[in-house]
């Protein structure tokens, strides 16, 4: 029964929740001759699925994760393995109470049932909890537990029974051989196992904590590391003796102590993310034979857990303090962590046909599997999973040092209060602009993007606070003033008054060259790229369903040379997306030249005056029109200047050879300061400047589940040439949009407590009566971006509103921290709130 086939359409490695689900979804999508391989026995081959605590909270910090969890929950329910228990996040601190209020609003934004509870109400649901320890709780009635092993078995068996799947248990993968070919230059050829070899074009790594090791067999990287999550099970709990089934009481997340308590039959499981981060090398996981329990249930290190015992006892003194109740099971369970906490999904950039479906929790496993199965089948996944795309990692982010450092840092934040602008501290500084020393001396407050240190604002601009006093919208609440300064708003106003110098070296710069370059960019971009050399084109890239995949600018530098400039965070993903558009005949190449080019922006009414002072090139409006680029000389350096703007001002982006960047910065600085030039940070570039202009951002407004029509970004004509997503886009244009992207202003910021509060994004938009808004496609309205509009004197929110509500002047409400604030639709569509005629940009 274990005869190994010589060929498979896909070899899935790993029979945990992910591998089983993936096999099932591929089979449902019509795949045949799938093989599922695991070194361990069924149904529990010894991976992390086998020791998972198996509970699902519907709330997440990321919309993607929330949607994957929702889909997974529905799949578990369909399999009959879901038991609803309810769950409560309890707060021990005032800060956490605030966080629960934010979470309650987030739940509202995403249509998740949630209710704030008093300590007494919590104790009513969880009678063994000491209500004097907590200040309150947030109750999620739809929390439940699943039998993930059973779910995996059912899905595996479904695929087997449909004749699509062969399962090889007790079969270890020894090698993944590659051959020349594919978009990556190398492609999967053969999977070698202890039971024999199988030829295949498609190998999927669903190996959880082993994934890096397996990927390495093919020379690819899956940047995750196994980390320890400690868990104990105590019992028999007398209170549970008479309960029926696996769980009868709500799961408690004691988030302030990074712990959870969950009934499991007669036992109480206590899990912790509070202990020191314990990183285990992928090669240090014991084999099945060497393991006492299983490879991923490593020996418990008691000392690490002892402090948690005290905290658990505080919360549940009678139940856990019962001398008759013993610690019957305790493990250092291994789980996977990636540097940014998101899964690693998709085809690896290094090897074509080698897919990663790794770093998934039980709660999102089946959802992830379905999305990847759709992707593998050539369809656009119903859930936008680009945030989890494995191609997102830059080279440095794939290093062991980075992966382990970020896992170490992220581990204790698992239940942390994570700010939307939360910064990582480890592995910094790494990528430095040539102007970094100057910026540091100017008191730059740095934030990190893709490893780059970027000034968010400059302390040297503190003197502007007085000049713009009264227009800065200072924030009273500590939460909203984190990673924020009124200096940002002052820099914004100074830029609009004179001009600002912005370091944009974190941009990813990709060159597409060769005879097939034009065909490549044409097939990827919505906008017309068959333009004369020297034109700069802003364009979206779409997927086949017409959803956004990227948002970037492309300069045509010559007949066969295009330069793509995109955000540092999405650079590697955009590179892979564009790489996959290259002609199959090899007539075009793409290369990442980011490290060759420093980028500075000079914008504001005085930008031309300042730049003209340092170059002999003609910078007049006629001589250097908007949306064009050309080389100019600045202080003995040849610079590529591009006249565009993301802040709504006259000015240029300057691409400078990296090693000459400091000189150009100094030259502009010297010429600019007499004209009022100020250094301006990313706080202006990324938020205030663009929000006033209604410029959309990829990942916020521009997401796969919205389209160009809804985003208000259609042009009168569609280019004749084919491009990816064109058919869908044409169809979208035929329909009236069921949601419209709007800019809203907040009319009153005062909370019930009398504090001025400023939304940061993610909040639900409600009717004045407090009812949720949902469009015809079932998408709730929530704030996609939020920030100050210093020049318009308002706090601005962007949100997709149902078409009927997208009327300028329409009065609505935003929920923030469990309170409602009045808002007004200022713009329905893409018209800028500031300088609606765009006279500044085109002056």
């Amino acid at each position: 029964m274990n005869d190994i086939p010589t060929r498979a359409s896909a070899v899935i490695i790993g029979a945990g929740i992910v591998g089983n689900s993936l096999a099932c979804h591929l089979a449902r999508l019509g795949w045949r001759d799938i093989v599922l391989v695991d070194k361990g026995p069924m149904p529990n081959p010894g991976g992390s699925t086998g020791h998972a605590s198996n509970f699902i909270f519907p709330i997440e910090y990321s919309k993607m994760m929330m949607e994957l969890t929702r889909d997974s929950t529905e799949q578990y329910k369909a399999l009959g393995v879901f038991t609803e228990s309810g769950g409560i996040e309890v707060a021990r601190t005032a800060g956490r109470m605030e966080e629960l209020r934010r979470r309650g609003s987030a739940a509202r934004a995403w249509g998740i049932p949630a209710r704030h509870l008093s300590p007494a109400e919590v104790a009513k649901l969880v009678p063994y909890l000491d209500e004097s320890v907590i200040l309150g709780g947030l109750y999620f009635p739809t929390v439940g537990v699943v039998d993930s092993l059973r779910a995996g078995t059912l899905m595996r068996e479904e695929a087997q029974q449909s004749g699509a799947l062969q399962v090889l248990a007790g079969t270890e993968v020894l090698g993944i051989d590659t051959a020349p070919g594919g978009r990556a230059g190398r492609k999967v050829a053969t999977v070698r196992t202890t039971k024999g070899d199988m030829d295949t074009d498609c190998c999927v790594i669903c190996c959880g904590v082993w994934s890096p090791r397996i990927a390495q067999l093919a020379g690819a990287h899956i940047p995750l590391t196994p980390v320890v999550h400690q868990m104990i099970s105590v019992g028999p709990v007398p209170l549970f003796a008479d309960t029926v089934g696996e769980i009868a009481y709500p799961i408690v997340r004691d988030v302030d102590t990074n712990m959870y308590e969950r009934q499991h039959g007669g036992d109480m499981e206590v899990g912790s993310y509070a202990h020191r981060p314990i990183i285990v090398g992928p090669d240090d996981i014991p084999s099945i034979e060497e393991s006492v329990l299983s490879p991923t249930e490593m020996p418990f290190t008691q000392d690490d857990f002892d402090p948690q015992l005290l905290q658990a006892l505080e919360l549940m003194p009678d139940l856990l303090g019962d001398e008759r109740v013993g610690i019957r099971y305790s493990i250092n369970g291994l789980i996977s962590m990636t540097p940014d906490g998101h899964p690693a999904l998709g085809e690896t950039p290094e090897v074509s046909g080698l897919w990663s479906v790794a770093a998934s929790w039980i709660k999102e496993g089946p959802g992830i599997a379905r999305a990847v199965a759709e992707w593998m089948t050539g369809a656009v996944p119903e859930i936008d999973i680009h945030e989890a795309d494995i191609s997102r990692f830059h080279a440095h982010q794939r290093t062991t040092a980075h992966v382990t450092a970020r896992a170490r840092e992220g581990f204790n934040k698992m239940y942390g209060i994570v700010h939307p602008s939360e910064q990582w501290e480890s592995g910094r500084p790494l990528r430095l602009s040539p102007a970094h020393d100057r910026e540091r001396d100017l008191g730059a407050a740095f934030i990190e993007t893709a490893g780059w240190e970027r000034p968010n604002w400059y302390a040297s601009n503190e003197n502007l606070l007085e000049r713009y006093s009264g227009r800065l919208m200072p924030r009273e609440a500590e939460w909203e003033s984190r990673w924020w300064s009124p200096i940002i708003n002052a820099e914004h106003l100074a830029m609009r008054d004179s001009c600002g110098l912005i370091d944009l070296s974190a941009f990813a710069v990709l060159d597409i060259t060769g005879p097939g370059a034009l065909a490549a960019v044409q097939s990827a971009a919505v906008a017309q790229l068959d333009v004369r050399a020297g034109r700069v084109v802003y364009t979206s890239l779409l997927d086949e369903a017409g959803g956004f995949r990227a948002d970037l600018t492309i300069m045509r530098l010559g007949p066969e040379t295009f330069r793509v400039v995109t955000g540092g965070a999405t650079g590697m993903m955009d590179k892979q997306w564009l790489r996959d558009q290259l002609p199959a005949d090899g007539s075009a190449q793409i290369s990442d030249v980011t490290s060759s080019w420093a980028t500075f922006g000079v914008w504001g009414p005085d930008a031309r005056t300042v730049l003209q002072a340092v170059t002999d090139s003609d910078l007049s409006h006629g001589g250097f029109p908007f949306a064009t680029c050309r080389e100019i000389e600045i202080g003995g350096v040849m610079v590529l200047a591009s006249r565009i703007s993301y802040v709504g001002e006259l000015g240029w982006e300057l691409y400078v050879p990296m090693e000459q960047g400091a000189r150009v910065w100094d030259t502009i600085w010297a010429a600019g300061v007499p004209h009022g030039l100020v250094p301006v940070g990313i706080g202006v570039y990324g938020t205030t400047g663009r929000l006033e202009k209604g410029y959309r951002a990829y990942g916020a407004e521009l997401a796969a589940d919205y389209n160009l029509v809804e985003a208000g970004m259609t042009r009168p004509k569609v280019k004749l040439q084919p491009f990816r997503g064109k058919e869908a886009y044409l169809a979208q244009r035929e329909q009236p949009p069921c949601a419209v992207l709007c800019t809203l202003t907040v009319d009153d910021h005062r909370s019930a407590a009398g504090t001025l509060r400023y939304m940061l994004g993610g909040e639900p938009i409600l009717t004045p009566a407090g009812e949720s808004l949902t469009d015809a496609k079932g998408r709730p309205s929530y704030v996609t971006s939020a920030g100050s509009g210093p020049s318009v004197g308002k706090h601005l929110l962007m949100a997709y509103l149902p078409a009927g509500h997208a009327r300028e002047g329409n009065r609505l409400a935003v929920e923030y921290m469990a309170e409602q604030y009045p808002v007004t639709v200022a713009v329905a569509g893409a018209t800028p709130l500031f300088d609606p005629e765009n006279t500044r940009v085109r002056s």
Binding site: M1, N2, P41, M42, P43, N44, G46, G50, D147, L149, R150, A169, G170, S233, G235, P236, F240, A241, V244, G245, E246, H264, G265, G266, D267, S291, V292, L293, S294, E297, R328, Y329
Partner: protein, 351 residues
């Protein structure tokens, strides 16, 4: 020079474990004849030309506790024993570990023994430990093989971790005290049966030597609590429903055993949590664990690995339990168990 082997009696004959110890003793004695090569292949060549420490022609002698008339001479002869010492003492009414050790200590001198061997049974280990303490000699327990080496020492292979690991060891002692890992040596007969000379031996025992003495009775401690049951009938997901446990309970009753279940069964609410076997339930160590419809999850196995025999009934020949059990029936427990109950009932009726 003699290898002296403690032989435990079993009815009229010698206990199987002792026959194995005798085979081991014979190998040890023979190793002194072989010129300079150790008995263990793991050690390779010994230096050439060295002299074996044991005198050529070392013989195997047996120590048997009881009257000379009751010495199982036939079995000893087959095993190659030349001399048997029957330890007779009016004071020795039953097993008395210290007294036995004292007697053997005397016999070491009387028989010019260079080694004392016993099976690694409760008695063998206990008696040799006392002997070691009395003589202040080292003792090597659980040996798989032993041989004289050219350097005057003994080369041993011992079991560690209950045989999961082998230890190559050197023993430097005027008299080697060795117990024999019972499953490591076969009870092979000697190439040529020996002629046994039986010597009655009366040891010099004090009251103190006899202070600890066994009272024997045929009684066996009973009780069918899950933890101490001699038989546990286990049921898992394969049972299918709460009603399915009726047959298992009946079988457990027929076997005088207890019912145990896997975690999923209690999680489903089919059986109370107190019947759960496993890491987080009860850990059992019965003679027989009959695991029915249990896949063999690691957490479950952790609770039953000290069972003497595991027999699985499972529909899936690839289930992990099959790799962990000693015997298996491939089939649906809901058919196999009722048939087994019927068969056991019939058998009880016949006997």
């Amino acid at each position: 020079m003699t290898v002296l082997c403690l032989v435990e009696r079993d009815g009229d004959g010698a206990a199987d474990a002792s026959l194995r110890a005798l085979a081991f003793s014979r190998e040890l004695a023979a190793s002194s004849e072989a010129s300079g090569t150790g008995g263990d292949p793991g050690y390779g060549e010994e230096p050439a030309g060295s002299n074996p420490p044991g005198a050529p022609g070392e013989n195997v002698a047996a120590v048997v506790f009881g009257p000379a008339a009751e010495v199982p001479a036939g079995a000893l002869a087959v095993a190659g024993v030349t001399d048997a010492y029957a330890v007779e003492s009016d004071a020795l009414t039953g097993y008395a570990p210290l007294a036995w050790a004292r007697a053997i200590a005397e016999l070491i001198t009387a028989s010019s023994a260079t080694a004392v061997v016993a099976a690694a049974t409760d008695h063998g280990n206990e008696v040799l430990a006392h002997l070691a303490a009395i003589t202040d000699l080292p003792m090597a327990a659980n040996c798989a093989s032993a041989a004289h080496a050219s350097d005057g020492r003994y080369r041993l292979v011992r079991h560690r971790w209950a045989g999961s690991l082998l230890e190559d060891a050197a023993l430097d002692a005027p008299v080697a005290l060795l117990t024999v890992a019972v499953d490591a040596v076969a009870a092979t007969p000697a190439a040529v049966p020996a002629k046994v000379t039986v010597h009655a031996f009366r040891p010099d025992l004090t009251d103190g030597d006899l202070a600890v003495c066994a009272t024997e009775s045929a009684e066996r401690a009973g009780g069918v609590s899950l933890a101490t049951a001699r038989v546990v009938v286990g049921g898992g997901r394969g049972v299918g429903s709460p009603a399915g446990f009726g047959a298992l309970e009946e079988l457990a009753g027929l076997l005088g055993g207890a019912l145990g279940v896997s975690r999923v069964v209690t999680s489903q609410g089919w059986r109370p949590h107190k019947q759960q076997v496993g890491q987080t339930g009860t850990r059992i160590s019965p003679e027989l664990y009959l695991a029915c419809g249990i896949s063999g999850a690691i957490q479950h196995m952790a609770g039953c690995l000290s069972a003497r025999h595991i027999v699985a009934v499972n529909t899936d020949p690839d289930a992990p339990i099959i790799a962990r059990a000693d015997y298996a029936v491939i089939g649906d427990l809901n058919q196999v168990i009722p048939a087994l109950v019927t068969a056991l009932r019939e058998r009880a009726g016949l006997s």
